[in-house]
Symmetry: C2
Subunit: 444 residues, 2 copies
């Protein structure tokens, strides 16, 4: 058992969460300068500890290689686990990058004079304690630890057991670096390592404010089902590209190909192509040929197959329309037009990201208003749905929820707000009796 995991086992997750809550109260009082200095110290510690991180990772990779050989782990999982020298340098660079982002705390979101001498401010502040459950990739540790520190939150982390040594080394380096910063509690980042710990974590409503599961759909569903703590994440990414009758077919071809082929394993890749019947004959044969060249297996509706009969397209089943392939497979359906496309997407989509290819601004506007998704795009690949590409500087994950954070979540996803009211002995009774009246004057 590793060092921090042993600490958790001895104290129990509830005690660790309570200490994290106490740490979060301290974090909330730190200035932006103090938080950024701590981030830079952590970045330096990571860079300096390269050998230790690589050695720990080598231990994990050796065990994983045996697991792959025994058919108990997939090769891509091993690939995600592996960290090299460049990876360590990137981790440190990312932490430094987070230090350079604007401060998410203390932002004045609204200011109103309620009456003379009675002023209300709405100000951003940390959530408090955040639990993050993730799989495989060790670089998640410095990534989420830096976002949490930047936003003044304490963290309970649970990584996959396959990365136990790597995660342990990273958390331990992080804690040591923070221990050297005045006023900063080491316990602001804590590592859990067993599934039993996760179950304990999910029950700690009073001391954990948010859980973010990052990983498989099964993981996200398990967490959501077993906790009353708010959960943000996405179970599925069933994204569509709809090629409208008014599409520029060259753009349509480029966007569709990119959305499917550029990186098919991720949630913002397209799973289904919808094609307006008015341009299907002009568009589909060439598109299908290009996709097949890219190694894409196509499953089509009967009309698609009839239109491109020699392409060896399999018949799509009802299940195909609600399947996230995460692979070089694309389902294709010819629809009667915009209305049918919107209806199909609202029925089968996962509300993640949806794209229309059209030169018709009105069709685009209708698509964007009526499609119920975090991202609605015109003439752009669904693959743009990402915190870095959106310019957030960092991504915590992607949320399919409509509440709090929707779509790619940046630092803002780790903040909430409070109302600060400054008075001079003001009481409600005078207003209730009509002796005083509110001014409700917006300030600035």
């Amino acid at each position: 058992m590793t060092q921090t995991a042993q600490l958790v086992s001895e104290a129990g997750v509830a005690a660790v969460a309570r200490r994290a809550r106490e740490a979060s109260r301290v974090l909330a009082t730190l200035s932006a300068e103090a938080r950024n200095e701590a981030l830079l110290a952590a970045a330096e510690a990571i860079a300096e500890s390269k050998e230790r991180i690589l050695a720990a990772n080598a231990l994990d990779c050796r065990a994983a290689e045996s697991a792959v050989a025994a058919g108990k782990m997939s090769a891509p999982m091993l690939a995600r686990l592996r960290v090299n020298e460049r990876g360590v340098a990137q981790m440190a660079a990312q932490v430094r990058g987070v230090a350079g982002l604007p401060d998410p705390l203390g932002r004045r979101l609204a200011a109103t004079e309620l009456d003379h001498g009675l002023v209300l401010y709405k100000e951003s502040c940390p959530l408090g304690v955040v639990g993050i459950v993730f799989e495989s990739r060790p670089e998640v540790v410095p990534q989420v630890a830096s976002l949490a520190l930047k936003s003044g939150n304490a963290l309970l982390l649970k990584g996959g057991s396959e990365a136990a040594h790597s995660n342990e080394a990273l958390v331990s380096i992080w804690r040591d670096a923070l221990g050297r910063c005045p006023g900063l509690a080491q316990v602001s980042v804590n590592l859990l390592q067993t599934r039993a710990h996760v179950l304990e974590l999910l029950a700690l409503e009073r001391d954990v404010d948010l859980i973010i599961p990052r990983g498989s759909r099964e993981l996200v569903e398990f967490v959501a089902k077993n906790s009353r703590i708010p959960v943000l994440g996405h179970g599925e990414g069933i994204c569509h590209v709809y090629v409208d009758r008014a599409a520029d077919l060259q753009k349509a071809c480029g966007v569709t190909y990119d959305a499917k082929v550029q990186y098919p394993a991720v949630c913002n890749a397209a799973e289904t192509l919808l094609v307006d019947e008015a341009i299907a004959a002009a568009f589909l044969p060439e598109m299908v040929a290009k996709l097949k060249q890219g190694g894409v297996e196509i499953r089509g509706c009967p009309r698609t197959i009839a239109l491109v009969p020699d392409a060896g397209i399999a018949l799509a089943t009802e299940e195909d329309w609600s399947t996230e392939y995460s692979d070089l497979i694309l389902s294709v359906k010819i629809v009667s037009g915009l209305d049918a496309a919107i209806e199909h997407i609202n029925r089968y989509g996962s509300r993640h990201t949806e794209s229309i290819v059209t030169e018709d601004a009105e069709a685009a506007a209708r698509f964007m208003t009526e499609v119920d998704a975090a991202g609605v795009f015109q003439n752009a690949s669904t693959r743009f749905a990402d915190g870095y590409r959106y310019g957030f500087g960092a991504e915590l994950g992607i949320s399919n929820s409509k509440l709090h954070a929707r779509g790619p979540m940046g630092l803002e996803g780790l903040t909430t707000y409070k109302f600060k009211l400054f008075g001079n002995g003001h009481t409600v009774a005078e207003y209730a009796k009509g002796e005083k009246k509110f001014t409700h004057r917006p300030l600035q």
Copy 2:
């Protein structure tokens, strides 16, 4: 069985929710003018239907009077149920007021040029379908129906059975008025009436985006426990007033009295008074005398009793510190200072609203940063925590959640946002290969 309830029973709640989802798609496309016209039509219909509403309410009140006589219902519950002529006029006026509020939809929350010809907007939009479960007061129907319509959301409403006739009349009048507005689906407001319907509702994750329970702590906990749909509300309001050593004692006395006495039955009334030991002797005797004059029962810590021995103060138990009395009862504790006050509040408070009375700006700043609550006040009564007093124009409820909406919720609580991305055939591959670079230029 009333008319709309019968419709629900025949179709099933799932079918009603599906129709509400369809209605929500139409609502999302309506202009602000169309929504406001519909609100004015509904307000007029309510005013014109005064006799019908009063007659339905009389039926409910007659049954409630028997229930009160038989000891099966409390007198305050009957009082909340009763609607008079002035009440109907107020309902209509409130709906007109909501029509006059700024449009919460289509607000541009951010705009960024990602690259030349690739522009990202973050825009507010409706949540979709909202379920509201409430008790007793029939005026909740037009209140939440108007907020939902203003924000483009469809509604599933469940009122208490004691108000069945009143609610049925109000929903039916509302639906008839909407039926006369072009493009507006009558089914955007739906009434459920049995507890079985509520249980069905709580399972409809796909077609219901948010549940707001308004009522007893038991109701809120029942809803939260039985649903995976996001829930916003507050189970408890355990609010504190802390009188600091640097307090102006006259302000302290006024704020404390108002926070406890002005309306003790509501969630933003104070339940516990914390007093800095440095000013306890100067402050408490007079404060206790005034509270007792106001009919307040006091439960104190041993030091409080020792300080005011002749006031008949009962000894507060551990349970008192976490009890929401909702009545003319106040627990009082002498603490060693600011740190102890903050610790007590973070331990026992319900994160609703907390007030410090002090002339020391630094103490107030620390209190506001370190106390974990939706509202943190200086020199003002906790009773100000309210959507109308905050200037939101309308209140949907108060949230103790830190996610999405915190504190008094106005129209904004019924909206989410989407990311709209406008491109010109942009694909991710070029950026991944380094052939293109993002500009990430904030617009406006």
